[in-house]
Amino acid sequence: MQQTTLDITRIRKDFPILKREVNGNPLVYLDNAATSQTPKPVIDTIVGYYSNYNANIHRGVHTLAQEATDAYEKARIKIQNFFNAAKAHEILFTSGTTHSINIVANGFSSFLTKGDEVLVSAMEHHSNIVPWQMLCERTGASLKVIPMNPEGELLMQEFKGMLSDNTKLVVCNHVSNALGTINPIKVIISEAHAVGAAVLIDGAQAAPHIKVDVQELNVDFYTASAHKLCGPTGVGMLYGKEEWLTKLPPYQGGGEMIAEVTFEKTTYAGLPHKFEAGTPNICGGIAFGAALDYIKNIGIEAIAQYEHELLTYATDRLLSIEGVKIYGTSQEKTAVISFNIKGIHPYDIGTLLDKMGIAVRTGHHCAQPIMDYFKIPGTIRASFSFYNTKEEIDRFIDGVVKAKQMLS
């Protein structure tokens, strides 16, 4: 396999947190699917905002307000470019993927009635299940589940069979947070469109790792969270095709989202402001832009290639440990390994790894239906980022071996 051209040693220097110790050991951070770490340029952007031009946006006539507004709107364009959206106003700032999904799920309350169907995949995060269940409860529409196989791949024939004139929405993640599977969303989108259904893709786990082009995908809605993309928490984005965002009613009422307000009637502002009521996370939005600059600088293709190298290396080493079972074995995967060791509870392994300074996730990863499918209480999940190294994977593997010895 081709070795990475990335200078990982130099990249690691950008992340102050990677220098810290946990329980007396240098930190090995392998919980990137939960949140990514923050590089210096993003931290500097946050400090810079509050030090130099903290002001409320879109309203003030003074210099600070103008500078903050410019920076915020520039960030929107950075997001537009990163995802290759056709127009900047097709990008809405949200508090994160969960918020993005809820905007669409609430908006669709006006479009669905009894007899309509919403298809959701079997490998969704709870945040891409519950809002749709709530939508179905409100409207009388029914929720149908696209099944998967033991490798953690969606059954595409079954999916095609489920589509009908009643299908109004298809929702699916681009990459599964618990399994790492990269779903064939291009096919899903075109098949759904063929029966006139809209498609929302949860891109929270995809955007940090693989190239996303919303125009090429021809997707109606796409979501992402800044904090998984080296940005801060509490900010994210919803991409929506202009025609959909125009049709969709606003989610929250308030300032900023109006054109004119009288006590008799309010007319709404145009896009994107219709969906951005209230003072947003201004600093977060600007820092989100800085994070995308940082990732763009490294190059998403180079990131994808290097992370695949890490995935292959870690998978091979992990499988050499007796009793390891990996959940999610699709050929198309990002650098996420969900696994268990025979006879050992994932929580035990996670606790001992933490004592060794190794951060992994244990539990159901907010995807209980997947755990139910495999009939397990949870898994240990190691998820890698471009700043991880093979040496760290070695420490992780040594840690798993040691933990297994202690627990057997």
């Binding site: 329980n23 050992i344 509870h345 994932p346 929580y347 035990d348 606790t351 001992l352 004592k355 244990t362 539990g363 209480p377 949870g378 202690m406 627990l407």
Partner: protein, 140 residues
């Protein structure tokens, strides 16, 4: 032995270890000696909420003392509940209610005391004390 004396014994035992690995190995061993809950008591009601692993606890009054049995599907959790039960079992409910649990700190398990910790040590202590309160009310 009083709760305090037992806790001191546990602290003394743990003080023999130099590093976390020995402490955890000992805790895992203690888990193996846990007085196991009868299968029939492994009900949904007896599960302690707030743990990533499952923990069941049952309490019964023997004369005027409370006897605990428990189990967990995770070994470390089993060790933690075993330590708690060793300190609290065969004690009068009022003494359990009054007992402090400072010894957890002293045996190097402080990190497990955080209420946000997924293993639910805090929930376990609370549950044991709730049993004590319930039985104390019965004794009154």
């Amino acid at each position: 032995m009083s709760i305090q004396e037992i806790q001191q014994n546990i602290v003394d035992e743990f003080s023999m270890f130099d590093d976390w690995m020995q402490r955890y190995e000992y805790m895992i061993d203690l888990g193996k000696s846990l007085p196991l809950i009868e299968e029939k008591y492994k009900t949904e009601d007896n599960i302690i909420k707030g743990c990533q692993s499952k923990v069941w606890v049952h309490a019964e009054l023997e004369d005027d003392k409370l006897v605990f049995t428990a189990d967990s599907d995770a070994i470390i959790t089993k060790g933690i509940i075993a330590i708690l039960i060793r300190a609290f079992s065969h004690q009068k409910p009022q003494d359990i209610i009054d007992a402090d649990t400072h010894f957890i700190d002293e045996i190097g398990l402080k990190e497990h005391l955080s209420p946000t910790r997924a293993n639910g040590l805090v929930s376990m202590i609370k549950q044991l004390k709730l049993y004590a309160v319930a039985y104390q009310t019965q004794l009154n």
